[in-house]
Amino acid sequence: MNCFLKIVTVCTFIITGTLRAQDSTVVDSLKEAEIHNLNVRGIVRREVSSADIYRNIFNAGLYLPRELVTGVLYSTGRSASVIADEKFIARAEDFFFILDKRVGWYPSVLLTSGFAPYYGLNLFYRDDSKSIIVGGRYRNRYKSGLQLKFKYNGIINEKVWQISLLSLSDRFNDQTFFGFGADPETDSRNKFNLNGEDFGWYFQKRVKFQAVLGFRPSEKLELFYTSFYQTREIGKSGVGGLTIKDVFDAAMLPGVDAEGKQLYNDISIKYDTREFKKSISSGTLVGGYVGYSKGVGGDRSEFLRMGFDVAAFIPVIKNNRIIVPRLILDKIENLDDGIPISFAEYPRQRAFRGVSSRKLTATDNISFIPSLQYEWPLSYLLTGQVFSDFIIVSEDLSSLTLDNARWAIGFGLAMHQGRSETGKFEIAYGSEGVKFLFGFGSPLHNNERVDWK
């Protein structure tokens, strides 16, 4: 009872205090309005039921949480509110956009279980034919990234072509390496130091300059030529756990404590029959690439990359419920057996959703990711996904086996604008444990095929 009285008293003070704080002329006009309204209705007494009274008491109890939620939502996200009569907070249009909405900014966030969250900011300029994006992510001076991207679209003889230029610089000290092969502990290429750990942390700093020329000869077909120059410096992680040099014999890890410099060129093709504007539609996706990397300066490595990505988007029940079997394969082939490829250049598995992309959980010359996904619409712009992914790695194609394959099953929600994902929530469970991911605002390097971190 004391607790109840306290709550009622506090609520009463808040409500009456709020009323008292109002301009007295507003209170007077409310009374006048009430009298006028009663006159229009022609009543001398309103209907009141006892249920109403109980509801109002309960509602008074919800006053504080309701006002709190309303207040918090007032100042959240892209739609910063306007206080209509005072306007002391800048309007969303002015806050996020200037120059006829051509210049704007938006925040980004990436939360992944097991890793520190990243918060970022992106500034952009766009018009009909070109866009410029400057984006940065930051956690601390050991975990940050900055990217500048320029894109230009043009039409020649009714065919669309595109040039994009990218420069990025990033550093992460929470990368991990587990060794080569499907079962690193038994693979003779891995020399573990005898300290019981099966993975090591490392620090990586990258600078990259990239140009991509894209061409769309038909509605469904895209061709790309990509060229980049990249430096990659691997060093000691400051995370606190065992470094790769602590866990592995440094002599068998090419690329450690070294700066790799490479010039890479590749051509890729993508044939996608899905409807462009729809987040879920049936069709087929077939893509492939082949690329050549040559070390520059002190880096004498030379290798080929190649791969394919094929998926079928099969409608079930309706056209916007689809089952997607997908196969992604990446292969790396050393062209000079005398010069080993840096371990950090080995295929990463961005498409595997069981673990963060910063964790190189399994790698080898060949990385194969079969997956099966079911996707369906939840509402306008939101889709639901359930998926199962596998990673199978091996030295060569004939050795691909499900033994020791990493696996994950999970559920995700994706926010779309057309076929681009602008936000994602995912939870997965598998051989690598539980993974949770929440991302918003096109985090850096999202879905970049040639971003081999």
């Binding site: 009872m1 507003v26 006009s29 006048e32 309005a33 006028h36 309204n37 006159n39 229009v40 209705r41 022609g42 009543i43 001398v44 007494r45 309103r46 209907e47 009141v48 039921s49 006892s50 249920a51 109403d52 009274i53 109980y54 509801r55 109002n56 309960f58 509602n59 919800l62 949480p65 309701r66 939620v69 309303t70 939502l73 996200g77 892209r78 739609s79 910063a80 509110s81 306007v82 209509a84 009569d85 309007r91 969303a92 249009e93 996020f96 504007k277 029940i317 309706k318 916007n320 419920r321 079911y374 369906w376 619409p377 939840l378 509402s379 306008y380 939101l382 639901g384 359930v386 929600l413």
Partner: protein
Amino acid sequence: MKINQHIKIAVLVMTSLTISSCAQSIKFADSVPITESHDNISIDVPQSNDFNMSDYAFEVLVKRPAANAMDVSRVKEAEDVNSMDHVPASSWYEPRLGYRQISPEELLRGPQLVGPPVAPLTVTRAKSGGGNPGFIIKDSRGKSYLMKFDPPEFPAIETTTALIANRLFWGFGYNVPEDYLYFFKPEELSVKKNATINREDVDKVLSEVAPPVDGYYRSTASYFIQGKILGPLYQVGIRKDDKNDTIKHENRRVLRALKVFGTFTNHSDMRIDNSLDVYIGEEGKGYVKHYLLDFGEAFGGHGAEHQRLWDGFNHLFSTKVTFKNIATFGLVVDDWENLKYTKWDAIGAFESEVFDPANWKETWPYEPIRISRREDDYWAAKILSALTEEQLKLLIKEAQYPEEGAAEYMLETLMERKRKTTKYFFSRVSPIEYANTDLGLITLSDKGIEVFGEDESREGYTISFYDGNGDKIGQKNLVGSSNGKILIPISNDVLNDSNGYLILKIRVDNKNADDPPPAQFHFITAGYKVPKLVGVVH
């Protein structure tokens, strides 16, 4: 401890009893029903309202639903309603359909005062705001019009709809601009010198819209509302600088009624920027008048333009639907997912078969629609029931559907939607109206039977009598009516027990369906030979 516990229980019980005794029934004054609100008292020009799409989207899709989820208070009765449960004339509404005879020709004329543009036309500026291309012109009389067009993928879909829906909403009682279907050739347009738009821009606009037929472009010419434009009318709250705006907008029946009219016309694009407040009159001597506009995306227009078959079936975002789809993994197929576009571009996917008035949804949640009560819906459904086939036929004819069979399909579809809509909203109340009172006899009429004919599912009526304190003083059960007329004898005992104020509650009893709440008729018996009707509640 035990004594404290007993005291607590006793206090709780006493509180409950006290609360229960605070309950009271509505009581009407012995007065003449208000038929005019007189909300045109002179005021200074109020401030303009802003509209920002991002803010609005966040407000209606996120903030308000979150706040509403924590509000358990009962929705208030509408406050712009008089004692007879009608809405008086005001700056918001003018009683038309359902209140007086409106010929098809008058409905077609609708808001006309100035009439359509008179050539030659001069383009004066570009259209600002809104997603569709257009421009502003002045005609030979110097009158300004906004010219709007059809999308190229669905020729005629908006220009037909704009005319028909504009006149329908005028007929329902709203203030609407003068919209006209207007044909012109591009060579009839000249561009004003020093205009903010040049000939190239005009040609660009015309290249982005439905192509001309026989050299003529179809357009909707919307005459600029005269007065100082104050921006959209907000769906909640009041204008603090307008003394005449005394009722929170969400509690206005005229706005809540948009649920029924929106259901019928599929005016799913009901957003505040499709409404307008205008200051009418000399500065300092005028008042604010409230308009609805932009009806071109009613019927199938909004869904066709945005390629959304779910238009009219779902809000743009709903947590309820989202969670349902998460839980069912998309394995449950909603009815609208089986819809297909009709063979007529001018109609899109507009239909009446899958249409369910109980589940119609506007795209952007609109608060007055959300909290509309049964009696608000019933009032609007009565107005809708007054719309005749002849009136619709003429509007459709004047809209000039270009494709063969389209006009007939539209008439059939609108009539069926009207039937479904009125039937559904009538079924949620006891649709009983007052007829007259004689010595010892009160005559009521069953509006449902009047509109739809005898209904086999009607078992009869339960009638109860109460005094002014809400205490029951009698009951009667009637089986059937005579052509919809319900004759209720009033005994002297009931009159005496009423102590001067009699409440008659009558509920329709339905077979195989939930019985709706009763309609109430309040009479003052003291001082009158024949009980005087002073109030109606549905």
